[in-house]
């Protein structure tokens, strides 16, 4: 047995993840008692379930809209809805969310207007919402880069005495990037109030986790930065909510960052453009179906008397309504003024951009005249 060595501020034991991912409601919907984490309140669990049902509906609606040519691309979080919801529902209004391209559901759950959320994937602009209004950063495409921005927002919050905590999302693949390393190190050194939530969905496009890392787990990376690493069942909303909430409280209390690894699975292909059959067996996917975050939650809530068919219908109705809003919104074509291309590059367009804008305007005028 190895003694628990306290070299830095935290002991080794406090930084290493537990042997098994934290799980509060198991695959069969049965509650699992846990020494460290209490089950979230009934209200929270119902809110999570509601959000997941809507999220699933939106995920599947978006995949359909891609097939219909209304969206350029959609990286679905089908199967990862527990991560999407838990990460957002644990945040306060003063907090920030840093999502990736796959975290559309989290962005929506944070209250961002549905159609504003779809601007990137629809291709009408690079990002459609005002990040400062919702405290949601633009969805990041270059992997792991946003983790550093998250640290910056968090450290600026500390300097300004704000009580803000920042939740930064990334995937398992992104943990290999240099920016992941630099972000975790900066967060720890500046004791920044950040929670890093890695959605380990086992794949980075076609590359399985075991080709991404030889670490015992991604959460084992935390000790290398001097922060706690926690593994959690990423399909268990309750466990995620409990773990993320605790990590956020700890950050808010000035105790610095935490790395949370959520074990989940990417049920669909990477995006519609991807062909998952080239690199994984359908049998693997099939194995994960029973672990679905919605099913187990539904069982739990039903067994606990928190969900009846009326409530279920109500939630489904809401999900359908939101999907309809999305569908209708996306089926309407937007009129875009190409002049916008030059408007926001600088606060005041440079003389060069003014010339170029004039050139385009002239072209369009002549086109119209024809």
């Amino acid at each position: 047995m190895r003694p628990d060595v306290a070299i830095g501020e935290l002991s080794e034991r406090a930084m290493l993840p537990s042997e098994h991912p934290v799980c509060l409601i198991d695959e069969n919907g049965r509650p699992q008692p846990d020494r460290r984490y209490a089950l979230p309140s009934a209200e929270q669990l119902v809110a999570g379930y509601r959000g997941m049902v809507i999220g699933r509906r939106i995920n599947d609606q978006c995949s359909a809209l891609v097939r219909q040519g209304r969206l350029a691309v959609y990286p679905s979080s089908h199967g990862q809805e527990a991560c999407q919801l838990a990460s957002v529902l644990a945040l306060g209004d003063e907090d920030w969310l840093f999502p990736t391209y796959r975290d559309t559901i989290a962005v929506m759950a944070r209250g961002v207007d549905l159609l504003e959320t779809m601007v990137l994937l629809r291709g009408t602009w690079h990002s459609g919402y005002d990040p400062t209004k919702y405290r949601v950063a633009p969805q990041a495409t270059p992997l792991a880069t946003q983790l550093l921005h998250a640290v910056g927002v968090a450290h600026a919050a500390t300097l300004q005495g704000q009580k803000t905590v920042v939740l930064a999302l990334c995937g398992d693949g992104a943990t290999s990037e240099g920016d992941f390393h630099e972000a975790l190190n900066f967060a720890a050194v500046f004791n920044a109030p950040v929670v890093f939530l890695v959605q380990n969905n086992q794949y980075a496009i076609s590359v399985p986790l075991h080709r991404q890392t030889k670490a015992p787990s991604l959460a084992h990376k935390a000790i290398g930065y001097g922060m706690p690493g926690v593994r959690v069942d990423g399909n268990d909303f309750a466990a995620l909510q409990a773990v993320v909430t605790e990590a956020i409280s700890s950050a808010r209390a000035g105790q610095g960052p935490t790395l949370v690894e959520a074990h989940t699975y990417r049920i669909e292909a990477h995006t519609n453009a991807d062909d998952a059959a080239r690199y994984r067996d359908q049998s693997e996917v099939t194995e994960w179906i029973p672990k679905d975050p919605l099913i187990r939650m539904k069982t739990y809530l039903t067994d606990a008397g928190l969900l009846d068919s009326d409530l279920q219908k109500l939630i489904e109705h809401e999900a359908n309504e939101q999907a309809a809003v999305l569908r209708h919104g996306l089926n309407k074509d937007v009129e875009l003024d190409p002049a916008v291309l030059f408007e926001h590059v600088y606060s005041v367009p440079t003389p060069q951009l003014r010339e170029q804008a004039a050139l385009l305007a002239d072209e369009l005028e002549r086109e119209d005249a024809q």
Partner: protein, 343 residues
């Protein structure tokens, strides 16, 4: 100092000599396969290039054919990919690496600029790095941000790199074979939007070497200079101009560095007018270089200032607006119209 020019040489292909209709994607795939077949020091690695065959399927079938020691996936880290390639080349291999999209090569920028480009010079030629860095580049495919950058200027400005951009399947095959056989590092820019363009290709036919431009279309009134993504647009513009009675010559650079001054100057001097066309933002770009060179070297032959038709100085446009950003046939024709024709 050896100052001799590398002579044109035919690349002895392994693929059969019967012309085949190939897309550019297939042609590059064939070039990789043939090179790996011929020389077992040639390796292919990067993100998703193994089982998946790359997001554009350029490496399709290579792992199956050569095993996962020769064509393999790496962890998701571009600096890592290029940095590892440097070491592998130091130890006798000829790595070809794929950057998944143009903008995702930026994390590797330091490795490219401070190591790939400088190692041979640093070691007085003792260590040369025969690395090919494949970068699918440019727009025109409705891609979202970070997926459509034309980043050639960053590389072309960096001494020690050789930068090529094919515009046809034949050139893609030939230049890739050349690039892999080249003793120095090559940044190989693959015009994404032309991946699916097809041509009948004789894989055994010799192609002009790296450093040599070609005149793609003869013409007498003005010269259009282009490379990679902008070649088909230039050709289309020349076609359209012909119907309006103007004869435009089209020069495809093929290599950005080394630059083929000879072909370009001869072409421009023959017409006295020039338009440079490139998708990248124009400021401090390869188009600037070409325009400046022509103005400096062909000054007295020029009947009009050189014009540039380039991407605007803005981040690449979102999918629904990209057509306004990209050099179009009309914009090229407008530029040609502006070449101070005395009627």
């Amino acid at each position: 100092m050896t100052m001799v020019d590398s002579a044109t040489h035919s690349v002895s292909g392994i693929s059969a000599s019967v012309p085949e209709t190939l897309s550019m994607a297939q042609a590059i795939n064939r070039a990789l396969g043939d090179a790996m077949q011929e020389d077992e020091r040639v390796l292919m690695f990067g993100e998703d290039v193994g089982a998946l065959g790359g997001v554009f399927r350029i490496t399709d079938g290579l792992t199956e054919r050569f095993g996962d020691k020769r064509c393999f996936d790496t962890p998701l880290a571009e600096s890592g990919i290029v940095g590892m390639a440097v070491g592998m080349a130091m130890n006798g291999m000829r790595p070809v690496v794929e950057m998944q999209f143009d903008a995702f090569a930026y994390p590797a920028f330091e490795q490219v600029v401070s190591h790939v480009a400088k190692m041979a010079n640093r070691t007085q030629g003792a260590v040369r790095l025969p690395i090919v860095i494949r970068i699918p580049y440019g727009g025109g495919i409705g891609g979202v941000e970070h997926h459509c950058d034309s980043s050639e200027a960053y590389y072309a400005h960096t001494p020690g790199l050789t930068v090529v951009a094919p515009a046809t399947p034949s050139d893609a095959y030939g230049l890739m074979r050349e690039a892999i056989a080249f003793p120095d590092p090559v940044v190989f820019l693959e015009p994404k939007k032309l991946y699916w363009s097809k041509e009948s290709v004789d894989l055994t036919a010799p192609v002009p070497p790296i450093g040599r431009a070609v005149v793609r279309r003869a013409g007498t009134d003005a010269t259009l200079i282009c490379y990679g993504t902008s070649v088909p647009v230039a050709l289309e513009a020349a076609e359209a101009a012909e119907s309006e009675g103007r004869s435009l010559q089209v020069v495809d650079m093929r290599s950005i560095t080394p630059f083929d001054d000879e072909t370009v100057c001869a072409a421009v001097e023959s017409t006295g007018r020039a338009v440079v066309i490139a998708e990248a933002s124009g400021f401090a770009s390869v188009a600037s270089e070409i325009s400046a060179r022509i103005s400096e070297r062909c000054f007295h032959s020029l009947a009009s200032p050189v014009k540039r038709v380039t991407g605007f100085d803005i981040p690449f446009a979102p999918p629904k607006l990209e057509r306004y950003h990209l050099p179009s046939v009309n914009r090229i024709l407008d530029a040609v119209d502006d070449l101070q024709w005395e009627d």
